[in-house]
């Protein structure tokens, strides 16, 4: 891939940006006017609304929606998971400085994936698509750290979710979602160990993404129900109300997210099986499905 004609310029631009200081990223400098210019194509601007469209309620709890006591409590609950994730992330970076850029790439990937426009019942909708896939690829502790960073960026760059409600959102989207997804993935993987690799992987990944997404939605409903209990029936009535109103969009979304994640992992296992093997997603001894990778696979077997 490094043989592409545009490879050196892209790498130079990126490196120049990394060492050249934050202010160079300011819009308008390259274009002369006030219109921001795309860094790679040199023309036009990627506004967020081209990549995603806010068409239906997303599940990020908005700033100020939770009473401050609840916001503080959820922050306290999420903090140990995030601290653990950050520790494993910084240890990985310290042990291998080369991993730093890969972590950066993974974080940016998670953010963009969560900002993708995916089809839904009420038009299109943004949705944290990445959590299930991220948990399978990078493990839940790392995902707690990357997910928190993604949510911070979403709050400040996309106005999805708030700063005081960051703890509550981190707990539902970066802690419970990934852990449930990872648990479902491991469970289905071991249950279908006798099936062939592609079927087993597809089923496991679908369950991981769909269940992770549903878990996120359930936890958010619990958080809202605890904050606003129903005057007559208390927590359970309130939970039914919140879960009911969000289920219209969230249950179809969970299924679609599962399907999309299966497509992603199937494509990756065909295009980039070595990377997946390194991440522990594909089994070491599994034959690469694409004919082009046959030599690779035989080398693996020989070694």
């Amino acid at each position: 891939m490094s043989g592409k004609p545009n490879a050196p310029t892209a790498a130079d631009a990126a490196v120049g940006k990394a060492t050249g200081g934050g202010s160079d990223a300011a819009p308008g400098k390259a274009g002369g006017g006030r219109r921001p210019v795309s860094q790679e194509t040199g023309h036009g601007v990627t506004t967020v609304h081209e990549v995603l469209e806010v068409g239906s309620p997303d599940m990020h709890i908005a700033e100020g929606y939770l009473p401050w006591q609840h916001a503080a409590a959820w922050t306290a609950v999420a903090a140990p998971f995030v601290a653990h994730g950050v520790r494993s992330l910084t240890q990985a970076v310290r042990a291998d400085p080369d991993a730093k850029l890969l972590v950066g790439a993974a974080g940016a990937f998670c953010f963009v994936l969560s900002a993708l426009k995916i089809p839904s019942v009420s038009g299109s909708c943004s949705h944290p698509t990445g959590a299930g896939l991220g948990a399978v690829l990078f493990r839940p502790p790392v995902m707690a750290a990357l997910g928190s960073i993604t949510l911070l960026f979403q709050a400040l760059l996309l106005a999805h979710g708030g700063l005081t409600s960051l703890g509550a959102n981190v707990f539902s989207m970066a802690v419970v979602g990934p852990w449930v997804a990872y648990g479902a993935y491991k469970l289905v993987r071991s249950a279908t160990a006798s099936l062939d690799e592609q079927t087993s992987l597809g089923g496991a990944v679908f369950c991981a993404a769909a269940l992770g997404s549903l878990a996120t939605y359930t936890v958010t409903s619990v958080q809202l129900a605890l904050a606003f209990p129903d005057p007559a029936s208390g927590f359970f009535g309130s939970f039914a109300k919140f879960a009911g109103i969000f289920s219209v969009t969230q249950i179809p979304l969970a299924i679609i997210e599962g399907l999309i994640t299966v497509v992603i992992v199937r494509l990756l296992s065909r295009v980039n099986p070595d990377q997946l093997r390194r991440l522990g997603v594909l089994r070491r001894n599994s034959a690469a499905p694409a004919a082009g990778q046959a030599t690779d696979a035989s080398e693996e077997k020989a070694g």
Partner: protein, 251 residues
């Protein structure tokens, strides 16, 4: 560029130290959350919007576009407060106290969203992130966050170009194709992100990379007087709210 970030770079308040803006909007945010919603929330929203649309010249269009998403969530969530379930009146009944409760939450959340968004619309993340080490976050973490921020726009750009190409091939014409296209987009992004990270790594090594990504941060002066001045509006809002409460109790 994302719309909020682009607005932040163009903001006249860009040269103001992030700590000053943080104290100003953060103080108002605390007022909105901790004080009684009426009258604190409208006061906070009024002060924040006056400052933002006046001296900070935030474009009302950019603000409205950014505020749309969270407000939609707040309104949908508050709908549930209007009804009560499982009470003596039946499975689903109108709650007479519901509108007051819903209005209180909408007021509080809308004021808080104003503070959050106006901070985001006047402060570029590139100015904010390197200073996060001052409040005690580990340097390795801040560096990783800044790196993700820098790589984000290139990745977003790739996503946009892949999406345009897919749309040009009718990749989003129906739901099945949509799912397939989004899946292909995600896979291509993963491969490209890793490939780009490895190429950047090679490029950095050729320039004597030792594991440190040093970045120039714009020097912005931070005067204690500016911080105190930034804290003043929230103190005034708090004082006005408290005196209103006392007067209300006295009458």
């Amino acid at each position: 560029m994302l719309a909020i970030d682009a607005a932040a770079y163009a903001s006249p308040w860009r040269r103001v130290h992030p700590a000053v803006k943080g104290v100003f909007f953060g103080g108002l945010l605390v007022c909105a959350l901790a004080l009684p919603t009426w009258p604190a929330a409208p006061l906070v929203a009024a002060v924040a919007l006056t400052a933002a649309l006046g001296p900070a010249r935030v474009s009302p269009r950019a603000f409205a576009r950014a505020a749309w998403g969270p407000l939609l969530f707040i309104l949908t969530g508050s709908l549930t407060l209007l009804v009560t379930v499982g009470g003596p009146q039946g499975a689903i009944a109108f709650d007479p106290d519901g509108p007051a409760r819903a209005a209180e939450i909408i007021g509080r959340a809308a004021a808080a969203v104003c503070c959050q968004l106006l901070f985001a619309l006047t402060t570029p993340l590139a100015d904010l992130l390197p200073r996060l080490t001052r409040i005690g976050l580990p340097a390795a973490l801040v560096e990783t966050v800044a790196l993700i921020y820098r790589m984000l726009f290139v990745t977003l750009d790739s996503a946009h170009r892949i999406q345009t190409a897919q749309a040009g091939r009718l990749g989003y014409s129906h739901r099945r194709a949509w799912v397939r296209s989004v899946g292909a987009l995600g896979a291509a992004l993963f491969v490209r992100s890793y490939d780009r990270a490895q190429r950047m790594q090679r490029g950095l090594e050729c320039r004597g990379y030792t594991g440190e990504l040093t970045v120039l941060v714009d020097e912005l002066s931070l005067r204690p007087a500016a911080v105190s001045a930034a804290a003043l509006p929230s103190v005034l809002v708090a004082a006005a709210t408290v005196s209103y409460m006392f007067l209300g109790a006295g009458l």
